[in-house]
Amino acid sequence: MEFLLPFLIGILFSASLYLILHRHFFKLILGLILFSLATNLFLFVIGRLTRGGSAIIGQDENVAVEPFADPVPQALLLTAIVIGFGIQSFTIVLIKRVYQSFGTTDLDDMNTTDQIEEHH
């Protein structure tokens, strides 16, 4: 598993990027969610994996005994997941509003703000 996880993460990254590169809004948001999921797993895996022992100190001990999972990536991950949730829900709402305002689901219809305005 430890060996296969990096490949799985690679697949997730590929899939999410491909979804992001789609023209459809809905795929874009799916892609973004997958992308942060992949990033979270990336963070988790690259902080080393420990099978079994969780980062909790037993009732009759004062210090954690090896093997216990590295709590740092977990804590970072928790923070990242929650932040990601905030951003994701905002993005979902944004997509919804865009659809309501523009009446389209095609990203290619949205290229006006960076166009150069004609002069004279």
Partner: protein, 771 residues
């Protein structure tokens, strides 16, 4: 000196207010300031003339060695007197010229600003301070040229002048920094003694190139001369002051100032002589092709500037002598003629040479001034211009391989000067005519007094060259040569070759004047040539720049989100590969193969579930299915977290995933079904990109995981969580104690997200395009 500059700036910014309070009397304080400074400088002059250089130090940015260091020697005194003396007259003149103009206050602001900047430029004893004032003159000139802002031509001329001199300014900055590095100081007085150090430095050549670029653009040397005639869009006082007497001479001043530092080398000499020579001839030639008084004067100014540069290039004692004398003479007569042209324009409403005749009857004083200045320009005997011309001829005829070329050049320009002088000083005023051009208003004292004073100065200096002028000019040329000078100026040198040539010049000049109409008729034939002229090149460059910029921008910023993301991901892949390419560690997969044996069945199932879910996700046409699949992927991820000892993360992931699905259902249930929107060709491109990206990320994990991690944090938190943090769940203790600050930030993000979502759903503005 610092006070003088400061007073100048303060008064400049007070000008609009003063105009509001004093009305037309604003002219009094504005003219009083330069006059006071002029007198102040005169009181300093005995010391300077005695050979002492005055200095004054005012710290400004000492940590960069940029200080307001002032330095007064002969050369700066000459320029400073010119600036303030002429400045006084111009302030008076402007009061008359722009009487009743609603923006007179602003005009005085700019003009005073310019004058002060120019004064600062010539008085500054720190080369970076010179640059600061230099750029200030450019800005104030920009504002003055564009003074009639509602005219398109004014605006574009102002822009042109700003861009050309701005280009020079930037080059100059580079050049001065290099000079400072070569000479190891920015202080002028120290630099003046380190000429050898600078000229032998490896940076000398680039410094020289940049410096000359600065000086040439400012002083309208070929091929940057074209902005000067266009700058005549400015009101005449400006043309007279900035674009003939002072600002354009800043370049000449800089060259003269730095002669002891940079001069003396072949590169210096030849460049100056060649560029100056071309400018001299070209300016003279172009002067004969125009009928607009100000244009003619502008081109002869260019020619004169060319002469000054050439003389600086020659660099011998007589050449320097000729240069300072001609500089003064030129300022006096050209300034006068500009003012005269302004008077004529003001009174008759035209500046067309061919339409103006017989004005001597109606504009008596102006015509006298014109006559005096014209004679000085033509180099007629008792005038100061005569001395200048004599010296020019003598200097160019000195022993040197190029003497004939140099002489021919100055002779040619001299001839044209004579012709122009006749046309302006005599033609439009004194030539008899049946129907003199009618005037719209009579000659006014504020308008004719300044030119008369200036022109008579030319006569006085010519008649009494020994009084004040000679010692001043002697000190000025000394500043350039670095050696004591002992020349004496005199009107009469006896019957020398130069005298003969002067007479010849006048005669031939008269011939040119007679045939000027014929010359003018050739003007149209040159129009083809102008296509390749620098002015046209400037236009082309500007247009090309705009088109190019628009095209490049439209390509890069094309509005398609996909291409932006593709660019970013490509950059990422490239950078990661680049960083690992040369000396990155090699991946050894073999060592990890044993891990395969630890695989459990449920893990493989989980894995396969995710992969097949992803495949379904791509195939799916329905939103709800996609959402469900996303849920599956998310829940599988939380299973992973449980498997590897992260129950908190797993629980959070689980709950968050649930909430996300809920939000999806709440929000996106009305979107239309999917459509395949991508193009086939693009799709392959993106598939490749995605796969590469995934591969890179996999590689990164593998390569990092190849090395053992010895985390101090893990150990510390494991040790201290219960004993120090009083909690057994280490992750939670990290979240609420060890790293609670992160959590604080995180909940702030959530709060803001909630506000944002609420605002986005509740607040829908439609025409909120405005602030």
């Amino acid at each position: 000196m610092f006070l003088a500059i400061l007073a100048g700036f303060l008064l400049a910014f007070a000008a609009p207010l003063l105009h509001r309070w004093l009305g037309k009397w604003v002219v009094v304080p504005m003219a009083l300031l330069p006059f006071t400074i002029f007198v102040y400088l005169l009181t300093l002059s005995p010391a300077v003339l005695a050979g002492n250089n005055l200095g004054e130090l005012q710290a400004w940015a000492p940590s960069l060695n940029i200080n307001l260091h002032f330095f007064l020697d002969g050369l700066s005194l000459l320029f400073a007197l010119l600036i303030t003396g002429f400045g006084t007259l111009i302030m008076l003149y402007a009061g008359g010229y722009l009487k009743g103009h609603p923006l007179l206050g602003r005009f005085y602001l700019y003009l005073t600003l310019f004058m002060t900047a120019m004064l600062g430029l010539v008085l500054a004893g720190n080369i970076m301070a010179i640059f600061v004032f230099w750029e200030l003159t450019s800005i104030s000139s920009y504002l003055l040229i564009g003074f009639n802002q509602d005219k398109e031509s004014s605006r574009s001329s102002a822009l042109q002048a700003l861009l050309v001199t701005g280009l020079g300014g930037l080059a100059l900055m580079g050049g001065l920094i290099l000079v400072g590095m070569a000479g190891e100081t920015y202080t002028l007085s120290e630099l003046l003694e380190r000429g050898d150090l600078v000229t032998n430095h490896a940076l000398y050549l680039p410094a020289l190139v940049l410096l000359l670029l600065g000086a040439f653009t400012k002083s309208a040397q070929f091929p940057f001369h074209f902005w000067l005639p266009n700058a005549m869009a400015a009101p005449t006082p400006v043309s007279a002051y900035l674009h003939s007497a002072t600002m354009v001479k800043a370049g000449v001043y800089l060259l003269a100032r730095l002669t002891p530092v940079m001069g003396g080398t072949d590169e210096w000499q030849y460049t100056l002589m060649i560029v100056g020579g071309i400018t001299t001839v070209l300016g003279a030639l172009l002067a004969t092709q125009h009928v607009d008084l100000k244009a003619i004067l502008a081109y002869t100014t260019i020619s004169a500037l060319g002469l000054l540069v050439t003389m600086t290039g020659i660099g011998t004692a007589p050449a320097m002598e000729a240069m300072v004398v001609f500089l003064l003479a030129h300022a006096l007569y050209k300034g006068t003629l500009f003012l005269v042209a302004g008077n004529v324009d003001h009174a008759t409403g035209t500046r067309d040479l061919t339409q103006l005749t017989g004005l001597s009857g109606t504009m008596r004083y102006t015509s006298i001034a014109a006559l005096l200045a014209g004679m000085s320009m033509a180099g007629i005997l008792p005038f100061f211009g005569f001395i200048g011309k004599e010296l020019l001829y003598e200097a160019s005829l000195e022993e040197s391989p190029f003497r004939w070329i140099l002489f021919a050049m100055s002779f040619f320009s001299g001839m044209v000067f004579v012709a122009v002088a006749i046309a302006l000083g005599y033609g439009i005023f004194w030539r008899r005519s049946q129907n003199p051009t009618p005037l719209q208003h009579p000659d006014k004292p504020l308008l004719y007094l300044p030119p008369v004073i200036l022109a008579s100065a030319g006569l006085v200096f010519g008649l009494l060259p020994g009084f004040f002028v000679t010692p001043l000019l002697r000190r000025a040329s000394e500043a350039m040569l670095g050696v004591e000078q002992t020349f004496d100026l005199a009107l009469w040198h006896g019957f020398t070759l130069a005298l003969g040539l002067s007479v010849l010049t006048v005669l031939l000049g008269y011939v040119v004047y007679r045939f000027s109409n014929r010359l003018l008729s050739y003007a149209s034939r040159f129009s083809g040539l102008y296509l390749f002229g620098p002015a046209n090149l400037y236009q082309l460059a500007l247009r090309g720049f705009m088109t190019g910029a628009t095209k490049i921008t439209a390509t890069i910023q094309n509005g398609y989100l996909r291409s932006y993301i593709a660019a970013i991901i490509t950059a990422h892949i490239a950078l990661v590969v680049l960083s690992l390419w040369e000396n990155g560690p090699r991946l050894e997969l073999g060592n990890n193969l044993h891990l395969l044996s630890q695989l459990r069945m449920y893990e493989i199932v989980l894995l396969l579930m995710i992969v097949s879910a992803l495949i379904f996700l791509f195939k799916s046409q329905s939103r709800l299915t996609s959402i469900a699949i996303m849920g599956i992927v998310g829940y599988s991820a939380s299973l992973f977290y449980i498997l590897f000892g992260a129950p908190d993360v797993a629980a959070t992931q689980l709950l968050i995933e649930t909430l996300t699905v809920v939000i999806f259902v709440l929000i996106l249930h009305k979107l239309p079904v999917f459509k395949y929107l991508s193009h086939a060709t693009e799709r392959y491109k993106y598939v490749t990109l995605s796969l590469t990206f995934g591969a890179v990320m996999t590689y990164v994990i593998l390569i990092v995981k190849q090395y053992p991690l010895d985390s101090q944090l893990k150990a510390y938190f494991g040790q201290g969580s219960f004993l120090l943090g009083k909690g057994r769940n280490i992750v939670n203790v990290i979240l609420v104690d060890f790293r609670a600050f992160d959590t604080l930030g995180e909940i702030v993000v959530l709060a803001v997200a909630a506000i944002g979502i609420m605002a986005m759903l509740k607040l829908r503005m439609h025409k909120g395009d405005k602030p």
